[in-house]
Symmetry: C2
Subunit: 116 residues, 2 copies
């Protein structure tokens, strides 16, 4: 119960079928049947993947007659990226240089008497 948002997002992304569904949705909205087509799993299985994505906020859904259209909602991806950005200095070389630069600036300003 009460799983935090980030956990919901990451565990939604942990399944390859769900990531493929998101990829498909990045090309435009689609119905359940359309989304199911590339996979050889049953419709109910796809239906539940969509529910997981919806719970994570990664898709929204609308009804149009008997069809339910799914639409990509990328905000949670922003959120997840934001979380990872806290670690960016550990892998992004240019970020590491920026980091060092900022550190140097800070050091210099802490020692106002030091020339050069």
């Amino acid at each position: 119960m009460s799983t935090d948002r980030l956990s919901l997002i990451f565990s939604a992304l942990a399944d390859p079928t769900r990531r493929a569904i998101l990829a498909r949705l990045s090309e435009g909205e689609a119905t359940v049947n359309e989304l199911a087509e590339p996979f050889d799993i049953s419709l109910p299985a796809v239906s539940r993947h969509l529910k997981v994505l919806e719970n994570a906020g990664l898709i929204s859904r609308s009804r149009n007659a008997q069809w339910r259209s799914s639409k990509l909602e990328a905000e949670p991806l922003r959120e997840a990226t934001e979380w990872m950005d806290k670690y960016r200095r550990f892998w992004d070389a240019s970020f590491i240089r920026l980091d060092a630069h900022l550190r140097k600036i800070q050091h210099d300003s802490k020692d106002p008497g030091v020339k050069q």
Copy 2:
């Protein structure tokens, strides 16, 4: 078996305890006991979280006498961010403007006769 790498990474990140462990490791290497200290779960539980993180490539481990030290390895976070970047245009406003700009440039170059 043979779960793909991205799935391993995302499902490793899906657990709050594991994310907390990574946060702790961003401040420096630590032993299993040190990592376990903030949580009220057993040592074996922490040990298995570390194994999950190791399998995902998110940490590496070294032995020093009877202590095993864990070290953050951020490369998989780069990989995960890279995957999410494919969707960046769906949520990053400045990226959306860049996207529109690139689209325009491409359009212009497809029409060499058009001035301006």
